[in-house]
């Protein structure tokens, strides 16, 4: 590797990191200011440093319950997505059956449907079955775009595992569930980690469906932010603090799956 080339790439990387972090820095900066200071003028650092915005969120139940609600439905969604996607991905990667290719592409089709299209029917459907304003409703609605994604990612990883492993296990007398849980799952641990991160991410940040399907009890943090902004006439500081806090759970998740992402996809759809 020639020296100047390497430096050019490092330079580009540094440049991108600055570009990626500047808006985030501005949000962190705002979260330590008062509203007056934010609107008053331009300042690179908070002049009247305050923790008050974070205090508001951690002491007001209508704020912090939003994080709990979001975490609950994101967790339910991720668990269901992976549970149903695992056997399906196995079927797609190992067997050929009537209509397999069509069903596989049809799954992705559901990810192409704009959530706005489903707003009204979802509202009516979940009202009819009495699930409105529950965590389960949002978790189920988010299956629409997370299950197809999980199936596609997991199928890629599973196709990377040689079929001989399955056959050897059956010869050794493993039943299918036992083989799947004891032998197969550990082999694709990486894929499960990556799929889990993507499911978490897409469900965590989705606003439209989550807001439509909840009113009080299961109100997610993303929806609480919009409501507070419009009601109290642009509370920038609290919003910035809330925004900083929304990054935290996801950052923890990516920290745990960071090794899987490199190693994981390596065995996958390539």
């Amino acid at each position: 590797m020639s020296k100047p080339k390497f430096q050019k790439r490092t330079l580009f990387l540094l440049f991108y990191i600055v570009f990626a972090l500047l808006p985030i820095y501005w949000m962190v900066n705002m979260s330590f200011k008062t509203n007056q200071e934010i609107v008053a003028g331009f300042s690179l650092f908070p002049e009247h440093f305050t923790w008050a915005n974070y205090a508001t969120i951690f002491t007001d139940a209508s704020w912090y319950s939003g994080y709990i609600n979001s975490l609950i439905y994101v967790a339910i969604n991720t668990v269901i997505s992976l549970t149903v996607a695992l056997p399906a991905a196995y079927a797609f990667s190992r067997y050929s059956f009537l209509g397999d290719k069509h069903v596989f592409f049809w799954l992705l089709t559901n990810r192409m449907t704009p959530p706005a299209v489903f707003l009204l029917p979802f509202f009516q459907l979940y009202t009819t079955v009495g699930l409105m304003d529950t965590h389960v409703a949002v978790a189920l609605a988010h299956l629409l775009f997370n299950v197809p994604l999980a199936v596609w990612i997991l199928e890629g990883f599973m196709s990377g595992i040689p079929r001989e492993i399955d056959e050897t296990a059956y010869i050794d007398g493993y039943s299918f569930p036992k083989f799947f849980l004891r032998i197969y799952l550990p082999l694709i641990k990486a894929g499960v980690g990556v799929a889990a991160f993507f499911c978490f991410m897409f469900s965590w940040v989705e606003l439209l469906l989550a807001r439509t399907l909840t009113s009080v009890n299961a109100k997610p943090i993303v929806a609480i932010m919009t409501r507070t902004v419009s009601a109290s006439g642009m509370d920038w500081a609290t919003l910035a603090a809330a925004g900083v806090l929304t990054i935290v759970p996801g950052a923890i998740v990516i920290w745990f799956v960071r090794n899987y992402i490199a190693k994981g996809f390596a065995m996958g759809r390539v």
């Binding site: 020639s2 080339k5 790439r9 580009f12 990387l13 570009f19 500047l22 808006p23 985030i24 501005w26 934010i38 008053a40 331009f42 269901i80 149903v84 996607a85 399906a88 196995y90 079927a91 797609f92 190992r94 067997y95 050929s96 059956f97 799954l107 192409m112 449907t113 704009p114 959530p115 706005a116 299209v117 707003l119 009204l120 029917p121 979802f122 459907l125 299950v147 197809p148 199928e155 990556v194 940040v205 993303v222 902004v229 920038w236 919003l239 809330a242 925004g243 929304t246 990054i247 996801g250 950052a251 990516i254 960071r258 992402i261 490199a262 190693k263 996809f265 996958g268 759809r269 390539v270």
Partner: protein, 296 residues
């Protein structure tokens, strides 16, 4: 799906049954509702009139919709044109081992994890000339920048925001693809005396093809459905320069409660995305195969 021969087993349907049930509950029932609405004039919940394809015909002639569709197409293809090369370049630049790779991976992923309405709000402040870093910096450079007054600036700001927000997705997928290339490939290439460009063209790019295909499809369909970020940042303005399809639809469905036309529009919207994704998917597969044949 891999193309290798797999044993035929119709019982595999039982394994995909849970997925079908889950997705059908979320997809087919609502879709049927939409189809049902699209052919009716719903005056009140109890009074509805069958109108056939009238809504479809009137939507297709809607000038505003044509404008929104053109803006949407221009936006989605600009997103792909910027994010794909930038994402690949970023993936090539990311360190592969050590604490630096972990740190870079986490930093790069941060923007993905911010809820979309917060993304819009950050950029709303970030771009303001009086109190925002980017706005102030551009003013300082002598550019009369205003995303609320100038349609071109508004459009470019939405694009820049999307690039900031979603390039990491392309980069993460590409990065993972690169990590899968065995060292032997690079050794073989260096014995052949291949330049860096050759290595990229004949080793790295073909190996990344699979993950990049997922990245292109995801970015295309997601940018085609973009709603929250431009809605928060510009509210679709100034004028309707950043009113994309999704926002147009929401105005119709929620704002005016025109259930019939909104449903008809939903179906047309869905078919447009489906068609474009199908073309994109097939085109990418063909390009990939031709390259394979050409390379051998």
């Amino acid at each position: 799906m891999s193309t290798t021969t797999k044993p035929v087993n119709q019982k595999a349907w039982f394994l995909i049954l849970p997925v079908l049930l889950c997705v059908a509950f979320s997809a087919i029932l609502p879709l049927m509702t939409v189809v049902n609405y699209s052919v009716q004039d719903i005056i009140s919940p109890d009074r509805r009139v069958f109108v056939g394809t009238e809504w479809f015909a009137s939507i297709m002639r809607d000038e505003e919709l044509h404008g929104a569709l053109l803006r949407q197409l221009a936006f989605s293809f600009s997103v792909l044109a910027v994010e794909l090369p930038l994402g690949i370049l970023l993936a090539l630049s990311m360190p592969s081992v050590g604490w630096k790779s972990s740190a870079v991976l986490v930093i790069v992923s941060l923007s993905l994890l911010i809820p979309w309405n917060v993304v819009g709000t950050i950029w709303q402040i970030f771009g303001r000339a009086d109190i925002g870093l980017m706005g102030a910096a551009l003013q300082g450079l002598g550019i009369d920048y205003s995303y609320t007054g100038n349609p071109t600036h508004a459009w470019l700001t939405v694009l820049l925001m999307d690039v900031w927000h979603w390039t990491p997705l392309v980069a993460l997928l590409g990065y993972a693809g690169l990590r899968s290339i065995p060292d032997a490939y690079y050794q073989a290439a260096s014995i052949d005396g291949a330049s860096k460009l050759d290595v990229f063209r004949f080793v790295q790019l073909p190996k990344m093809r699979g993950v990049l295909m997922i990245a292109v499809l995801l970015r295309f369909m997601d940018s085609f459905m973009i709603y929250t970020e431009p809605f928060v940042l510009t509210g679709g303005g100034p004028g309707n320069s950043t009113t994309f399809l999704s926002q147009f639809l929401t105005q119709k469905a929620v704002g005016q409660f025109d259930l019939g036309p909104a449903a008809a529009f939903s179906l047309i919207y869905f078919l447009i995305i489906l068609l474009l994704c199908f073309i994109l998917y097939n085109w990418m597969q063909r390009v990939g195969t031709q390259e394979k044949e050409g390379g051998q």
